[in-house]
């Protein structure tokens, strides 16, 4: 969160509202990682 906040100033200055796209990219990276959680058997329903 800290890094994202730090990056947001220059990003808004450079790209304006389109800077939100980077947030979309971050979310996509998080989603890709979240998919891997399906391999964790400890999370399977009992």
């Amino acid at each position: 969160m800290g890094l994202a906040t730090m990056a947001s100033g220059p990003l808004f200055g450079q790209f304006g509202s389109r800077g939100h796209l980077l947030m979309g990219v971050m979310s996509a990276a998080g989603l890709a990682g979240a998919v891997q959680l399906y391999s964790q058997t400890r999370l399977d329903p009992a």
């Binding site: 969160m1 800290g2 890094l3 994202a4 906040t5 730090m6 990056a7 947001s8 100033g9 220059p10 990003l11 808004f12 304006g16 509202s17 389109r18 800077g19 939100h20 796209l21 980077l22 947030m23 979309g24 971050m26 979310s27 996509a28 990276a29 998080g30 989603l31 990682g33 979240a34 998919v35 891997q36 959680l37 399906y38 964790q40 400890r42 999370l43 329903p45």
Partner: protein
């Protein structure tokens, strides 16, 4: 109370003030012709992080920074005038900006040691709103959306979160943390991509409604994942389960 739950509560506490001030402070400073206090944080955070690293225990630095932040934000209530408020806000926000990276490092270290290495997935989805918190209000203003609608739009996001926590608890339990996290990620991608193309006002309302999935649902999923993936030494199952169940009401 288990460590992951305590860390989650710490995150919640430090972002309460940010949630309240983020929509308006950038606009207020911009109205006075200043963007310095917010932008300057990007300059102060690295040296402050180096200073914080000089402590043997990171929590010592965190205690100092939280104290400075709370004091500075408290001083904002005094009639200091714009110059005084700017100095105090700068001090408070400079100290605050160092807290999340520090606690992120602390959590990541503990997660590697204790085995709840889910952090990056939830963290990436939950960190994405950083840009939104700082600049959504200014972006909307540039887009021609009346300032009076800003609070309403932010309110829609918060109301959606409250509704989720209040009414959708059984649905959340049925879904499970992994599916909830996936939904949060998809909602975040949709939300931020739509935001990037400056949608019309009417479209902003459903987009703001997605906040409950992208933030609250992801946060709840992260708590559940922390609880399930922690080693037994740190996961005191029954108390932490009860805490997690009570947490929606707390939120």
């Amino acid at each position: 109370m288990s460590l992951p739950i305590r860390l989650g509560l710490f995150y919640g506490a430090i972002f309460v003030g940010t949630g309240a001030s983020s929509p308006y402070m950038p606009v207020w400073f911009a109205h006075h012709g200043l963007s310095l206090p917010l932008m300057a944080r990007t300059m102060t955070a690295p040296p402050m992080a180096i200073w914080a690293d000089s402590f043997r225990l990171r929590r010592t630095a965190l205690i100092f920074l939280c104290g400075i932040t709370a004091t500075a934000y408290g001083l904002m209530a005094l009639p200091l005038g714009f110059a005084g408020w700017t100095v105090v806000w700068f001090a408070g926000s400079a100290a605050f900006s160092t807290i999340p990276p520090l606690i992120d490092v602390l959590v990541l270290n503990r997660s590697q040691r204790d085995g709840f290495n889910f952090g990056w997935h939830c963290g990436l989805i939950q960190s994405a709103p950083g840009f939104y918190y700082c600049f959504s209000t200014r972006a909307w203003k540039q887009q021609g959306i009346p300032e009076s609608m800003t609070g309403v739009l932010w309110g829609v996001g918060v109301a959606a979160e409250i509704a989720f926590l209040w009414f959708l608890e059984p649905w959340r339990r049925r879904l499970g943390p992994r599916n909830l996290l996936i939904l949060g990620g998809i909602a975040s991608i949709l939300r931020w991509t739509a935001m990037a193309v400056s949608p019309p006002l009417w479209l902003l309302f459903p987009r703001q409604g997605l906040h409950f999935l992208g933030y609250a649902a992801t946060f709840m999923a992260s708590l559940q994942l922390a609880e399930r993936l922690s080693t037994p030494r740190h996961a005191t199952p029954r108390p932490s389960s009860r805490s997690a169940r009570r947490f929606p009401a707390g939120c």
